[in-house]
Symmetry: C2
DNA sequence: TTACCGGGTTACAGTTGCTCGAAGTCAAAT
DNA sequence: ATTTGACTTCGAGCAACTGTAACCCGGTAA
């Protein structure tokens, strides 16, 4: 199952610029190419892309994602370290979620104020 | 109630660099100064800072926060527009939260895999 | 055949949102 | 007297893209 660049872009929502950028930076491994040098992405590669995307979406810097990828390549010896990284990131994500919830509350509060304000206008003689 | 820069930094967690940057960019209004040109922040100003922080923490670009601030300055005439901005941002925040939840699930899944892996090691003869 | 399309390459400039250092001023505190 | 901690402007640097330029290459359609 080999995907084209276009398909991977559709599947992941990551732009081709970014995919190439990740590859260049070593965040993603070098992609297989066909005879013409055209990238063909394997299922497993797409899984990698999705993992990078997930980590990135939590704000983990590329440098650390790269580190994680390298640990992954180094085999099972690095499992405990990778586990620690994931646990630490899990905590950060939980923090982020609660911060977003707070922001959401603030937004709702502001919206409620605006509603009150609007109703005051409507009640003017 | 006037606060010093230091107090505002402590209260909001925003760095002095960033506060000055926001002011310079017009995201925050010009601050009152004392005779020596030292910034003194009013209660209301700190509220503004917190609103900017909340909006920013949701990923709203500074340009749009600035726009919002300008609408705010223009008075009640702009209420409906501001309401729409807040509603749109509310939706985005909800999206973000659900994306983070997904990322969290993925992390938990990976962690579960690692646990399974670790247990397999422990069971080796 | 020619034209176009969609892919490839390198290289580099631009954007956003900070983050920080340099280099200087000034006033109050030790 | 000196240190502390504000302030100023300017400008560089960073992360993570995002996009442009200028080129190549192979397959398909008119």
């Amino acid at each position: 199952m080999a995907f084209t660049m276009k398909e991977v872009v559709e599947r992941t929502g990551i732009s081709p610029y970014t995919l190439r950028f990740y590859e260049k930076e070593g965040v993603l491994p070098a992609v297989d190419r066909d005879a013409n040098g055209v990238r063909k992405f394997s299922d497993h590669y797409v899984d990698c892309v999705e993992m990078v995307q997930a980590l990135r979406s939590t704000g983990l810097p590329l440098a650390e994602i790269k580190e994680y990828a390298e640990l992954y390549k180094s085999g099972n010896r690095t499992l405990p370290l990778r586990k620690m990284m994931l646990l630490s990131q899990k905590n950060k994500v939980e923090d982020q979620i609660s911060r977003l919830m707070k922001a959401l509350e603030k937004l709702n509060y502001k919206l409620a104020l605006i509603d009150a304000q609007e109703n005051r206008f409507e009640r003017l003689p």
